[in-house]
């Protein structure tokens, strides 16, 4: 356990080293945030509600979605990909710890850094510039935090499963970026799934994506009630367990395909 704690701590310390980069990342996310807020401002110029959401709810949703996307940072795809390409994965297997847990801890450290260095400043900017709405209730806020934790686990498991492709293909290329783009669209990060055609909404109900962004954000702004919120969090738990077993299965097979080169 001490070793895993050390990995998290090291990742946090590394994150704090690159301060100028952090400022620029915040600036970039701020540009995205400003563009998104003004887009929704213009959209609501002549209407009071869209898909049951008021302007204030929608702007809060959009801003928090951008903040969450800064929080949901994973590096497992790059780490495993480069480990296989350079042969350093062999060293990881020699360490007295589970390789996947090692990458999970590193990503937890990355997330903690993002929380402090990206999410908090972005949240402050959001509060000051766009007057974000408060959560509908204390219970909603509590469920929001729990749901965000579940969302992170789903996203990490999806990233880890994507990274397994490297064991067969050797080079992941931009597959990780494809995963991010697909998740961003289908999760309601760019625009709530409630704006999608009904057929697509029906299909997405049976996939894990919308439970990563829309569920916590919907709970926070009150579009998803507490009962429905609890149900959707149950679905999040189902996806965590399901994806965990898929990862275990693929991981077992992937190790048989491991071919170490370089190193």
């Amino acid at each position: 356990m001490e070793a895993y704690r050390y990995l998290i701590k090291m990742k946090i310390l590394v994150g704090f080293t690159y301060r100028f980069e952090v400022v620029m990342v915040i600036l970039t996310r701020l540009v995205v945030m400003v563009a998104s807020v003004y887009l929704w401002n213009s959209a609501y110029a002549n209407v009071s509600e869209l898909e049951g959401l008021t302007k204030s709810q929608m702007i809060t949703y959009a801003v928090l979605a951008i903040i969450l996307s800064s929080l949901f940072q994973t590096d497992v795809e790059n780490a495993i990909g480069s480990g296989i390409r350079r042969g350093t994965i062999a060293v990881q297997f020699l360490r007295p710890m589970d390789v996947l847990s090692l990458h999970f801890c590193e990503d937890l450290g990355l997330m903690c850094t993002s929380l402090l260095l990206r999410c908090v400043p972005l949240l402050l900017c959001g509060l000051l510039l766009f007057h974000l709405s408060a959560p509908v209730s204390v219970s909603a806020l509590l469920l929001f935090f729990i749901s965000v934790t579940f969302s992170y686990l789903i996203i990490w498991l999806l990233s880890a499963i994507t990274s397994m492709v490297t064991f067969w293909a050797m080079f992941l290329g931009q597959l990780g970026a494809v995963r991010i783009v697909v998740v961003n669209i289908l999760s309601g990060m760019l625009i709530p799934v409630w704006f999608f055609p009904q057929v697509l909404q029906d299909i997405l109900r049976f996939l894990p994506f919308q439970y990563t962004y829309q569920t916590p954000l919907g709970i926070y702004i009150g579009r998803i009630g507490l009962t429905d919120g609890l149900f959707q969090m149950g679905v999040q738990c189902f996806w965590i367990v399901f994806l965990f077993f898929v990862l275990k299965l693929v991981w077992k097979r992937a190790q048989r395909h491991l071919m170490v080169q370089g190193g």
Partner: protein, 273 residues
């Protein structure tokens, strides 16, 4: 004349060799193709979902915004195809890689700006063309010689404004040794000012991206003029005139070139090994 022919031959061979090497990594480029396609169509999809419900955003309907997005993606693609190396000036400065250009008997700015051909840029152009064709169909946009010429002017101008922006920020590396971190901000700014109507932003933002960093001329102003969309900004001069786009592009590119040359000649230290 002989000198120009010599420069063109050198540029042609640099680009040809880069194109050939890009094809060596076929699976890599295919994944890029899908990633860029999905990412670009998602912008289109988000705006469609909103405009289907509200009709217009700041006087722009969906086909008009599609026209804007289409041309924006195309100029983004050409910028990626020919000017991508400007995003990595930092690396060249840190490694002292400009030495290899400085010892050649050709203009360094020219050599550097023809030193890369990135096939992936084509994958940005592809969705852009599809969206532009869709927009033209929806708008019943007349396909005359003048209109085709106007679209060509907007594309070329937009490409050079984007390139100038990359060169300017990339050249900061001559002074600060760091510029790569600015590139994501840069790309986000260029995309958000050229794919959405600029008038949806506050006045100070519009002024900034019209007069200081002229990103509004990548697509917004020339497209607004071409599609005869009512202007709701009151600037002393009408920026919608098509002629402004190439003039602004030329001026901005020359400024960027001057900054690059100054940085290279006065601040570059041939560090690295």
């Amino acid at each position: 004349m002989k000198k120009i022919r010599h420069y063109l031959t050198v540029g042609y061979w640099q680009l040809k060799l880069d194109a050939l090497s890009s094809f060596q990594y076929f699976s890599f480029t295919i994944v890029w193709f899908f990633m860029i396609g999905i990412a670009m169509f998602s912008t289109f999809f988000v705006l469609k979902a909103i405009l289907d419900r509200v009709g217009r955003i700041n006087g722009w309907d969906f086909p008009q915004i599609s026209f804007l997005i289409g041309l924006s993606f195309i100029s983004h693609g050409f910028e990626d195809m020919f000017f991508l190396q400007n995003r990595y000036i930092e690396h060249r400065v840190l490694e002292g890689q400009f030495d290899q250009y400085l010892i050649r008997p050709l203009n360094v700015f020219f050599l550097f700006n023809t030193s890369n051909f990135n096939l992936v840029g084509f994958y940005d152009i592809f969705p852009g063309v599809i969206i532009l064709i869709y927009a033209c169909g929806q708008l019943q946009f007349p396909i005359t010689a003048f209109h085709l010429f106007a679209m060509l002017v907007i594309t070329v101008s937009g490409t050079f404004i984007r390139a100038a922006q990359l060169i300017l920020t990339g050249s900061l590396a001559f002074w600060t040794k760091k510029s790569r971190v600015l590139e994501d901000t840069n790309l986000t700014l260029m995309d958000r000012t050229s794919s959405y109507p600029l008038t949806m932003y506050p006045k100070w933002f519009q002024l900034l991206f019209t007069f200081l960093l002229p990103l509004g001329f990548i697509t917004f102003y020339p497209v607004r003029g071409l599609l005869h969309i009512a202007a709701d900004t009151a600037f002393p001069v009408a920026p919608d005139l098509l002629l402004w786009a190439p003039l602004v592009a030329l001026a901005y590119y020359l400024v960027a070139r001057a900054v690059f040359n100054y940085g290279l000649n006065h601040k570059y230290e041939s560090a690295g090994s």
